[in-house]
Symmetry: C2
């Protein structure tokens, strides 16, 4: 953790301050000030879409070192309902997580999970993936929803089209995102919440650059890059980042939505990103894929059946301190629900330690060395496997309408 001396350089009314910039990359270490405290950047936020980081209590999330979590407006709007959470004192009180929190607008979910009815300039009409009921989101309503939820950072409704090489639909969705961003700003009532702008533009550099300029001109306390990590090749993701980040103001936080593997976090930080969220570390955990400095380990592999040692002997998480790989292997084999929790605790702790070390290396002007050392050792999931996994996840069936019980619903696999 950086020393407190850096605090002196922050003005308390600033939402964000850069502490140190890497001399040879765009990586930077900073601080984000929220109504519920200050958090260091680069920062990874685990996903608690439905008001719960899957399998964990809030104190376990904090115990893993997590400093900020994400909730999702689309999921919470459908269940338990925005008014219900508001009447129960807001999302912090409802969930028991009292640290900084960001809520996503639900734009991505409306366009990827829901059964879409129609998109117009006014807003988007969709059917719930749970019961098929019809709902209408507008930029104004989505801001109101998030004011009721009470997160510290909130996001405007955006139009995120699926990955495509067709320019037309991306152009249209980006223009709509811009109009909706302006309306979101005008709708904003609460001044304690930071509303970020979202840049869209698919894989087209010129649309990304234009979107960056339009959104930046509107003036937000932070900028998100949406519409990436949705199935495009990784080299494209990074190239779009390289085109987009220089267009964003240096004194505002940059948030890359939906990125969460160690290697992607590292390469995105090198390109100037400060904030991240992704379900990847927790979702892969529930699939039995556990992070180590050498790469992901599949706990169901037979070599762990009798291993009387932690899955990762460099880790200080509760799972690694208290349980052997053999026990974890057994819990996964027998599908004990405890398995998914123990794995989640480990993966979150790994990512937190990784981000802490990465930030420290920036502060100490050793980022490039950290990056090289990490990548030399960490064996990444190959591109083909990665895209296949992503595609499998994106095309997963939703069995919501009849309310049937499935592993989908329990979230074990997805």
């Amino acid at each position: 953790m950086p020393t407190m001396s850096s605090k002196d350089r922050l003005e308390s009314n600033h939402h964000f301050a850069v502490e140190k910039v890497c001399p040879s990359t765009s990586a930077r270490a900073g601080w984000l000030n929220t109504a519920r405290g200050r958090v260091p950047t680069p920062l990874f936020m685990p996903v608690g879409s439905r008001g719960c980081v899957k399998t964990l209590m809030p104190e376990e999330v904090a115990g893993a070192g997590v400093k900020m979590v994400l909730g999702n407006t689309y999921h919470l709007y459908l269940r338990p309902g925005i008014e219900t959470i508001k009447s129960l004192g807001g999302l912090h009180r409802f969930t028991g997580w009292h640290g900084p929190m960001l809520t996503d607008s639900g734009g991505y979910q409306v366009f990827s999970l829901a059964s879409l009815r129609s998109v117009s300039e006014e807003g988007v009409l969709f059917r719930s993936h749970i019961d098929g009921s019809e709902h209408f989101f507008t930029p104004e309503r989505v801001v109101q929803f998030q004011e009721s939820l009470g997160a510290d950072v909130i996001m405007p409704l955006d139009h995120c089209p699926p990955y495509t090489l067709e320019r037309g639909p991306v152009r249209e969705a980006t223009n709509r995102t811009h109009n909706w961003a302006a309306r979101s700003l005008r709708a904003l009532q609460c001044r304690e919440q930071a509303l970020y702008g979202i840049v869209q533009g698919g894989v087209f550099p010129e649309i990304r650059r234009e979107s960056s300029r339009v959104i930046t001109d509107l003036g937000f306390p932070g900028y998100a890059i949406g519409g990436l990590s949705i199935g495009e090749p990784k080299v494209v993701t990074l190239s779009v980042l390289e085109e987009t980040v220089p267009e964003l103001p240096a004194d505002k936080p940059r948030y890359l939505m939906g990125v969460g593997s160690p290697e992607d976090l590292l390469e995105s930080v090198a390109r100037g990103i400060d904030l991240f969220d992704s379900a990847l570390p927790t979702r892969t955990a529930r699939n039995g894929a556990l992070f180590t400095a050498d790469g992901r380990r599949n706990i169901l592999n037979a070599r762990y059946r009798t291993l009387d040692a932690p899955i990762d002997d460099e880790c200080d998480c509760h799972t690694c301190r208290a349980f052997s790989a053999a026990y974890l292997h057994h819990l996964f084999k027998t599908r004990e629900l405890l398995a998914y929790r123990l794995a989640t605790i480990h993966n979150l702790r790994f990512i937190v330690r990784f981000m802490d070390a990465l930030r420290q290396s920036i502060v100490e002007a050793e980022f490039q060395e950290f990056r090289t050392n990490f990548l030399n050792r960490y064996r990444t999931t190959d591109e083909e496997t990665r895209l296949a996994q992503k595609q499998k996840w994106l095309s997963r069936p939703f069995k919501g309408f009849d309310g049937s019980h499935s592993s989908q619903d329990t979230g074990i696999i997805t």
Copy 2:
């Protein structure tokens, strides 16, 4: 909790000592001495069949006040295997539960879960419910298995026939159980483990009495009553207890297998039982049925949707202290895995507090008052619903052979 002064009256080499007997019922308060410490009786043991009290870490089990847990030889033999656990230092080290532990022999599971091939005097040939593989259990092997697992109290292989009004099969199974008990005693090598005898005899008083005499004559440090709570009417269960308990020695612990609802625990204690195990509190928790002093509450009931208060405002468990009924309702509605854990913590804590209060009432010679007060307030599940639930559970389909993933496997519902 009883005061330490009662400790003076115990001799350390005694497995069991009675501290106080109720003047008007057969209820008694006592102490069980095991290699891993002394536990008060009457005592309820939650079930951790596969080396894990479902959804919980060992410290959460202990945190709920649980003093002794149960593991199952059948399940652990199939996965991860007895030799695997032995090579990993025994069941305590493998699971991280370092308090007193009892292992069931697996007799009940072989006769209820497995696909039975044949039973002979020598032993029982069965097919695994997981992969259909064939296995042979003998009384001697089952003792050896449990010596390898290393629990503090172990059980002999018994023949537990399904609930029937036919005398023939029960007579035969009981005789076999007697022979197997004698062979188990002869096979015993480890003197730090207490091997209990098991009384069978179905719903037939004279077979129960005879079984009690035969098993008692063999001489065990404790006696279990098996083959009850397997679908017979509750009035029959209690009547069989009344016939059986007086035949068992007063200075040895009496263990009623498979009983775990508050009202059944209470009535069995009144009839002289000291030890219990059952999956009921944890299984009902995963089904959303939560114990309160007024009876079970169904968390999915709409009245909990907006209740900004604990599900049980008399409870000191972590779930009731940290989370509202509304949040728990939401987690169950959305099938978040955290739901099953929060409910399990509550139900275990309820049963522990219930048993502690019950014991205290015996020590203070107020058991009858406690019993009357509890039963006046607690609304029990009616007999019809209870038997229907039990039948549903006993006849649940096992989808093991193809290794398919189902809610059955995850143990959420069952």
